[in-house]
Each structure stands twice: as C-alpha cells, then as structure tokens.
C-alpha cells in the first residue's frame, strides 16, 4: 500500500513485483521473473499438496483429514458423473486439479496476512492466469471433441430439431456463443476475485482514513465500514468457493458437449 502518499491504493494489491534477483530471468527472450504471483502459485501448490497428502493414508476407516480429501474427490467425481456420465471419470484429475488450485488460490489470497506485514496475492485476480486456465479448459474441449467426433463435432452448432432454413442463422449464433466461452470463463473468475478484493481494500481505506480523521468520523464511518468488512469477508469466502465451483462446473459442462455432443 502506498503509505507514503498517505492514502490506500486499492489497486496496488494486484501489482506484480519480481522477487529480488529474478527480474532478469528469461527463456528465449521471454521474461520469466519469479514474481509475487509465482510465489503464491508455489504456495498454493504446496498447500494443496500437503492437503491432498493428508488424504493419502488410504485407511479403510478414514480419519477426519482423509474424509475431507475424499469428500472433495467425491464431489468432483459426482459432478462429472452427473454432467458427463460414466465417461466423466477420466476427467476427474484435471477438473479436481483445476477446482482445488483455484479454490486454494482464492482462499489463500484472502488470508489476513497483512496483519503480520506479509502481502497475500490472489493470482486468480489476474486475467492472464484465469485466461490461461480458461484457454486450457477450452483446448481440452476442442481436442476431445475433434478426437472423438472428428468433423462431426461441428454439429454442435446445429441444435437438434433446427428447421433447415434456420440453420444459416442459428449456426453462427451457436458458433459465437461457443467461442465466447473461454472469455466468459476466464473473465468471470478474474472479475469476481478482483471486485471482492477492491471492495475490501476500499472499505479498509474507509476504516483507516475515517479513524485517522478523528473519533467522530471513526464512529460514523470507520466502525460501520469495519462491520461491513467482516460481513463482506464472509461473503468473499463464499465467493472464493463458488467461483472455483463455477469454473469447474462450466468446464465439466463444456467437456460434456465435447464428449456427448448434444
């Protein structure tokens, strides 16, 4: 936060800063500096690994931790089975990785680490990241679709029962809606995460500036803002889960299109 300017910059939290000494790393001319964003990807991966590791005891009668991990895998498994059917099982590793990676990133980014002087960074609030994940999901849909159905996959753009004269009109619309999918998928997560974090930051600036302006403003502005923040924090936890779920759900629905056409 730009404390030296005496005010809170709500966008500063999204700034990507290379961690000291890695600014110049590059591959084939492309910069690959190890940034705070990359650091939080690393943290997410490690925490997720530890979480899933706790579920690897493979006991017949599961403990609490194993039960928790199994309920996540079961959740993804059920979602894929409900949306795709028996063939959905082979996508569990991908959708599980996607869901858990986004979920943990969202939740870790919400940790109140600023209290102890660290700066949590939510890399899912960057459309570079969500966009890449969306394109990845979209590519899987395309690859599976063309692999399984060949050129017949294009029949996806002609819904069942379309009257013949309507096809020239319907097909482009369907095609556009299909091509918009990766954008809507990536932007949804990015916007939801960014909006939540900006809102929290703005409210926190109300708390800080209001309190600094005197006791009266502190009670009038700071306290209500603080109470609102507590509520919005809970809401953000919910949004973190929901957005991860939506991303995984939409991915599974799109894979269903590729797997089963219509």
């Amino acid at each position: 936060m730009a404390a030296e300017e005496g005010k809170v910059d709500p966008m500063h939290q999204f700034a990507i800063e290379p961690i000291a000494g890695t600014e110049a790393w590059e591959i084939a001319g492309y910069n690959i500096a190890f940034t705070n964003s990359a650091l939080w990807m690393l943290i997410t991966t490690v925490v997720l690994f530890l979480f899933v590791m706790g579920g690897m005891k493979r006991q017949l009668v599961p403990g609490r931790w194993q039960m928790m991990v199994e309920s996540f895998t079961g959740f993804i498994d059920n979602m894929l089975e409900a949306n795709i059917g028996k063939a959905g099982r082979k996508y569990v590793p991908y959708v599980f990785s996607l869901f858990m990676f986004i979920l943990f990133a969202n939740l870790l980014g919400l940790l109140p680490l600023g209290v102890i002087g660290l700066h949590p960074f939510t890399f899912t609030s960057h459309f570079t990241v969500t966009g890449i994940l969306a394109i990845l999901s979209f590519s899987i849909v395309l690859i599976v679709g063309f692999w399984k159905h060949g050129l017949h996959f294009f029949s996806l753009f002609v819904p069942h029962g379309t009257p013949l004269p309507m096809i020239p009109v319907i097909a482009p619309i369907e095609f556009i809606s299909f091509m918009v999918r990766p954008f809507s998928l990536g932007l949804r997560l990015f916007v939801a995460m960014m909006a939540g974090h900006v809102l929290l930051e703005v409210l926190s600036s109300f708390v800080i500036d209001g309190t600094n302006a005197g006791i009266g403003f502190g009670f009038l502005v700071g306290l209500p803002s603080f109470l609102l923040m507590i509520g919005i924090c809970a809401l953000e936890l919910l949004v973190a889960g929901i957005q991860a779920y939506v991303f995984a759900l939409l991915t599974s629905l799109y894979i269903n299109d590729a797997e089963n056409l219509h």
Binding site: M11, F14, N31, A33, L42, V52, V92
Partner: protein
C-alpha cells in the same frame, strides 16, 4: 489497473509459472494422488457392499434354518402329542382291564360268599330242625308222656316251621 498496465512485461512470467505450478498440481496431485484416493474410496464402497451382501446372505440362511427348525419342531411336537395320546390310551386300556379283572374277582368272591352263607343257613336250619325235633320229642314225652318217633316229630316240626 496493474492487470492491464503490467500485461506486456508480466504475461510471459505469469504463463510460465502458471504452467509450472499448475503442471505440478495436475501431474503430481491430479494424476498421481487423486486416482489413489478414489481407488481407496472405491475399495471401501465395494467392501461395504460386499459386507452388506454377506450379511444379507447370512440373514437369509438364518431365516431358512429357522424355518426348517420350525418345521422340524412342529413335527416333533406332533410326534410327541401322538406318543402322549398313545400312552394315555394304553394306560386307560390297562387300567380298565385291571379294574375288570378286580371286578371279576370280587364278583366271584361275592358269589362264593353268598353260596357259603346259603349253605351255612341251610346247615343252621337243619340244626334248628334237629334241635327242634328233639325238643319236640322231649316236650311231648314230658307233657303227654307219649313217645313220639323221630320222623313224626320231624314232620311236625317241618310243618310248623313252614307255616311259621
């Protein structure tokens, strides 16, 4: 907005590190660990299903055996009732026979006793006649001084006894 302002300088780093860490997540966790966890769940589910099936089979077997036991038990009870009834009938027949035999013996004894009583009475009557005859002879001799022969006296006595 840093997402746009920094896009040109950071997109390659974002892409690279996301590929690295999401790759690790996918290959290590998604492909390596998740199938094992799901396998454990499947094993548990199938174990539970097997155990339930075994329990159901055991219960069915128990029901069958109970049914068989019930049938056997009913047969046994029926048999036992037959035996008891036979024993009862046997005992009744035997006691009837015993009672009949006793009755016969008693009847015989009664008849014998009656015969003996009749004989005794006849003997007594003969004795009385004889005594009466002698007494009559004696009385007649003493009162009338007539000697009556025994047959005459006896005849008189008999007539008197017959008339009362």
């Amino acid at each position: 907005m840093p997402q746009i302002a920094q896009l040109a300088e950071t997109w390659s780093s974002q892409f690279f590190w996301l590929a690295v860490f999401f790759g690790i997540t996918f290959f290590l966790i998604g492909m390596g660990m998740v199938p094992k966890i799901m396998d454990t769940v499947d094993q548990r589910d199938s174990k539970i299903a097997d155990d339930l099936a075994a329990a159901k089979a055991a219960r069915d077997a128990a029901d069958e055996q109970e049914e068989a036991w019930r049938v056997r038990e009913n047969e046994n009870r029926e048999k036992a009732r037959g035996i008891v009834n036979a024993a009862k009938a046997d005992a009744a027949a035997k006691s009837e026979k015993t009672i009949a035999a006793a009755q016969k013996r008693l009847d015989k004894k009664l008849d014998e006793a009656e015969i003996r009583i009749g004989e005794a009475r006849n003997a007594a009557l003969a004795e009385i006649e004889a005594v009466a005859t002698e007494a009559a002879q004696d009385i007649v001799q003493r009162v009338a001084g007539i000697k009556v022969t025994k047959p005459t006296a006896a005849k008189a006595v008999k007539e008197t006894l017959a008339h009362g």
